[in-house]
């Protein structure tokens, strides 16, 4: 009973915040609203017993996406104001969107019962992977191809961001610049927060085999700490053609592919693991992926190479 009250309160808050993000006139307020919304969703995911998703949502939905949007809102502050659509159009749009919502809500009550579930199968085969976290088993064993291709998608996204470099600035420095207020407090923060953050990121990656967590969550935390150090101006933003950077970007997917092909020889099919060494191989992949994910996400958030001084 009590927990239903809690769920109702969380549900109302989420819907109210979603509405606020969409209608508030000022972009900066909408962006802050979105960050709070993302962090709030974390609690909903915990209530849905999806702790792995909650970790990802807090790290990416709230933190990194928030930083991207904040920087974009800051950069576009001087953009010409935009007229909103006319009231009648908005009214019709609201009606149609409400219709979409109502039909989706109806779907929720028409879901098949008992619900189809792959959970028993996932648990049954968990033994073979040597892992304790079924979500990690799905990501790195049952549906490893999806995860591998997702890494490739991340790299492609980074390539397309980089290809928006200003003419004549290839290879250059990503658009992230330390602010002028970089002073003692920011320095202090960038000295004292990242050590704990990085330990937490490594813990996430290490723990991911048996408990909620994993390469995504760990990599995101490490990316956030790296960005923090760069924002504070403690470390230079790396030029996008530096060898160590390129190597850490491709290390994860490359090791993943190599182990995948090795699986063809040893275990009979692409990305199959020999049963005795499955856990070891998955941990190796996870460690390499954590590094690559940290590099890709950090660079995606840092943006394309830009000229040195911005107007």
């Amino acid at each position: 009973m009590m927990s239903f009250t809690f769920d109702t309160a969380a549900a109302l808050l989420i819907v109210a915040m979603g509405g606020w993000i969409v209608i508030v006139p000022d972009v900066t307020r909408a962006v802050i609203g979105f960050i709070v919304y993302g962090l709030m969703l974390t609690i909903v995911w915990v209530r849905l017993s999806a702790v792995d998703v909650a970790l990802t949502e807090a790290a990416i939905g709230g933190g990194l996406t928030g930083m991207l949007l904040i920087n974009a809102a800051g950069r576009l502050r001087s953009a010409r104001p935009v007229l909103r659509t006319d009231a009648p159009v908005r009214f019709i749009a609201a009606l149609l969107c409400a219709a979409v919502s109502v039909s989706l809500a109806a779907v929720i009550f028409m879901l098949p019962s008992p619900a189809p579930s792959l959970a028993p199968l996932a648990v049954e085969n968990l033994q073979q992977t040597g892992l304790g976290n079924p979500v990690a088993a799905v990501l790195f064993a049952y549906r490893a191809l999806d995860t591998l291709l997702e890494k490739v998608v991340l790299l492609l996204a980074l390539l397309s961001v980089w290809s928006l470099a200003t003419v004549g600035f290839w290879p250059g420095l990503p658009g992230l610049r330390p602010p002028a207020l970089a002073g003692s407090t920011l320095d202090f923060l960038a000295r004292h927060l990242p050590p704990y953050g990085i330990i937490f990121g490594v813990y996430m990656c290490w723990n991911g085999a048996s408990e909620p967590g994993g390469a995504f969550q760990g990599g995101t935390v490490i990316a956030a700490m790296w960005l923090l150090v760069m924002i504070a101006g403690m470390r230079r933003v790396p030029s996008i053609d530096e060898a160590w950077l390129r190597r850490s970007l491709v290390a994860g997917p490359a090791i993943f592919v190599v182990i995948g092909f090795a699986g063809m020889m040893v275990a009979g099919s692409f990305l199959a693991y020999p049963p005795d060494h499955a856990k070891l191989l998955i941990v190796v992949i996870e460690v390499a992926l954590t590094l690559s994910i940290a590099a890709v996400l950090g660079l995606l958030a840092a943006g394309p190479p830009v000229p040195e001084s911005r107007p």
């Binding site: 207020l181 002073g183 407090t185 923060l189 004292h192 927060l193």
Partner: protein
């Protein structure tokens, strides 16, 4: 024994929750950004401290207790420094306007 522990937990969590209420009241009632920041950071972190203290009494495992305490210490560190940073930004934006 359990009854005593439970009573202590209830007391600590209630005090913590009341601190959160105080923080929100400060946030709603204080006149300017700096005082609101002060209310929010100090009071909410104290509230979190009381809640963690109450929860510590309910955990049997050492590792869980250590993690709970670790979260509180971490929030102390990060919220403290971030509050300083936000305060600087507030002062700066005042100077400009």
């Amino acid at each position: 024994m359990t009854v005593v522990l439970d009573a202590l937990t209830v007391a600590a969590v209630v005090i913590g929750a009341l601190f959160f209420m105080a923080g929100t009241v400060g946030l709603l009632r204080f006149p300017d950004a700096l005082t609101r920041l002060h209310a929010l950071t100090k009071v909410d972190n104290l509230g979190l401290g009381f809640i963690v203290a109450g929860l510590l009494l309910q955990t049997g495992e050492l590792l869980v207790a250590l993690k709970l305490a670790g979260v509180w210490l971490f929030v102390q560190l990060s919220a403290g420094i971030v509050a300083q940073l936000v305060a600087q930004a507030i002062v700066q934006s005042r100077r400009r306007s």
